[in-house]
Amino acid sequence: MKSIKRICKLLLITLALSCLVACAKDSKKDSEAGQAQGNNGQPKTMNMAVSFFYPSLDVHKDYYGWYTSIYGVSETLFRVADDLSIQPLLAKGYSVSTDGKTWSIELADAKFSNGAAVTADLVIRNFKRLAEVNERFAFLADFTYAADGDKTLKITTPDVYPTMLSDLTAPELGIMDLDGTTDFDNAPICTGPFVVKSFDPEGTIVVEKNAAYWNGNVKLDLVNIYYMQDDETKLNAMQAGDIDGYTSVTAAAKEIYAADPSTYTLTVIPATRLQFYVLNKTRLDDKVREAINLTVDCQAIAEYLGGTVSAAVGPFSASAPYGQVKKPAVDTAKAKALLEEDGYVLGSDGYYAKDGETLTLNVCYYAARSLDTIAVVMQDQFKSIGVKVTLTVQEDPDATYIASGDYDIALYCMIADKAGDPYYCVSALFRQDSKWALSGFANAKTEALINELQYETDVNKRAALANQIVQQSIDDNAFGYVGLFNKTTVTARGLSGIAEKCPFDFYGLTADTDKN
């Protein structure tokens, strides 16, 4: 008996001691170097967290190029600037033939991290490899390529291709040294300010300064990038000082950081991921759809979501030239009047009904990107004007309600602006062969405008066409644009340059990233 008591006491002491012994000092072994500043002779190190992680660093495969770009390892010919303009990077200039089909791109004097030069021939081989290994870029195989010397490459397309430059900013088109790289999955040789030091697939990646960086002085020596899927873990790591920054800050964490501005810097900008809903024209008549759009209060939804989204008017940022659309302000009185004009009568249960049937809308959504919250808020807003809503949640929207068209209102989220051009989004939403065609909006007039947009080379005309098309979708009460996700980045005081002001998700570390 006494021995059991002794054992219990010993256990408690052992437990307590082992917790103390394996304490924070161990963590210095986990990161490659300490947090010391560069001017002490110690490597200047930064730690950051990312929410997605892939098992390979092959720039061309899948979406891995997004992450090699975020890690500062790979670079593309062109880059989208914070103001959505296309800027040269590995390219220094371009020209396009009068027929709009041949693009001549002049390369900058860029070098890979192993000192090899970036040549036109190597760029062409990169594009061809991308077309082979990535289904989404198989269209690159339809182009004809030619190298005019080492520094000029010509791309000839079968048709006029006005979006060439913005497509060339896609991170999957990052340029690798195909001859010098022996291990594409773990150590690709690229041109970026950082090179891979160690890579634990779906774990931690350590990148170090590219001493031979061709485009300026790299300020940081070492960056440890941790894969953290859980938002609480990121918050705790930030509070414990284990990381110096991350994006996709939740509303709850944002409040905590905002309360301590001396320690944390928050940067919030509207990004390009759109939350929207589609109204099924085949089930809902014009007045009902108009009433719906006059009821959904996007500003209230944005506030409810704690600042993680900005209320949207159209699918694009209001600051973009192709984001100049208008929609009517919320007007619940008019919404009710429209329903009454349509023959609906408010019953004693507080809901509108016609011919003995209560007006009930089936809102379909999936539980991601705050769409579940939006669905509930919308249900509440509709209830206030006397419209009943049933919510249907599906795990896979594409295979269920979108494929079948079995919805009154379908909520969805997608990247609306891939690289500073509206064609991709407009085509994905409004074309007659798009997955939303079952909603009944797609029509010949809109299709003709989209076809015109596809081949229009003048940037201003492109913007005007996009505005016209999107305005049609608003005026027809076929689509409703709820919010654009904000890119919310938190950084420890003194840290800057992790693309916190860029609306795109695929930029991160640069030569100017610094920690003071």
């Binding site: 008591k5 997605f52 899927q229 873990t233 991921r273 896979d396 989220c413 997955k435």
Partner: protein, 311 residues
């Protein structure tokens, strides 16, 4: 014993066939497919043409029986295929996940046993005393709290407030402490209550009273009590080991521990059928093996079962 083990091994083959078929069927019938998940991962829309081409290259446009047959044929030759998501060999991914999960599972079980056995004994011997009530109260609390809450509390108090441990810890010893604690607390709480019940049952038996009356020393009595209660205790441990080796998604996500649970969850979300199938096979094998080891250990511990075999 040899025949018994042989029969059980044969059963494993049937179980794995049935489980793999059922899982493949359910995955096939569930909406969505791996091609869409892969292409749409970052919310970028893709055209129907690209989607169809990808489905074709993945073999997803074949019938259910053809897909299952193809998979089963390769699996029989120990080739579990490659992941739809990233093209890596499934066997490699599973082994890596198993290694990490096993490390966590073994350390959690050991810690739980180290703590729960002595406390269970204490509770049994001091039945209905204030100590018994106190320990049972804590075990009740530990059992009631969900895993994710325990994890978040541990991280908050030990890492953020007290700064005793890092939040970001790789697969080192310090990185093992928190997930191990998070897993062990509910296991320990359950074990204390269950072991206590078993020990109380044994302590109430006549042989204990007889031994004490004859002046046999306490430690010999308790050793025999433990021996006689060990079959039930082993059953409880066996069930827990099987569950732990299947991985814990919540713990592995919060603590960035790349184990089987997380791998399985990601595979299900991404409709990564080869990984799902591989995981199901591996889990079945683990459960059956653990149960077999538990059953064999009964024979080793209880001589009456061995005598029964002889007859």
């Amino acid at each position: 014993m040899g025949r018994y083990i042989g029969k059980r091994v044969l059963h494993v083959a049937w179980i794995m066939l049935a489980v793999s078929f059922l899982t493949f069927l359910l995955s096939y019938l569930s909406p969505g497919d791996a091609a869409m998940k892969k292409l749409n991962a970052q919310g970028v829309a893709v055209s129907e043409e690209v989607l169809e081409k990808t489905r074709e290259s993945m073999g997803l446009n074949r019938s259910f029986l053809v897909q299952y047959g193809d998979w089963a044929w390769h699996a029989l030759r120990f080739d579990l295929g490659t992941s739809y998501k990233d093209g890596f060999p499934v066997a490699e991914k599973l082994l890596k996940g198993l290694k990490n999960t096993a490390m966590l599972a073994v350390s959690s079980i050991l810690l739980s046993l180290l703590v729960s056995l002595p406390f269970a004994f204490l509770c049994a011997l001091k039945k209905d005393s204030w100590l018994d009530h106190l320990i049972r109260l804590f075990s009740f609390m530990g059992n009631s709290l969900p895993n994710f809450l325990i994890s978040v509390l541990l991280v908050y108090f030990l890492c953020v407030r007290a700064k005793l441990l890092p939040v970001v810890a790789n697969k080192s010893l310090s990185g093992l402490i928190l997930p191990c604690l998070a897993l062990s607390i509910p296991i320990c709480s359950r074990f204390i209550r269950q072991f206590r019940a078993e020990l109380l049952e044994q302590l109430g038996k006549p042989y204990v009273a007889g031994a004490r009356a004859r002046g046999v020393k306490s430690r010999y009595v308790l050793w025999n009590v433990l021996h006689n209660a060990s079959i039930s205790i082993l059953t409880i441990i066996g069930l827990s080991v099987g569950t732990l080796l299947g991985g814990s998604v919540v713990i592995e996500t919060i603590f960035r521990w790349p184990g089987l649970g997380k791998l399985a969850m990601d595979a299900i979300t991404n409709r990564d059928y080869p990984v799902i199938q591989g995981f199901v096979l591996l889990s079945s094998l683990i459960y059956v093996t653990v149960n077999l080891i538990t059953d064999v250990s009964y024979h080793l511990i209880d001589p009456r079962l061995r005598e029964g075999e002889g007859e």
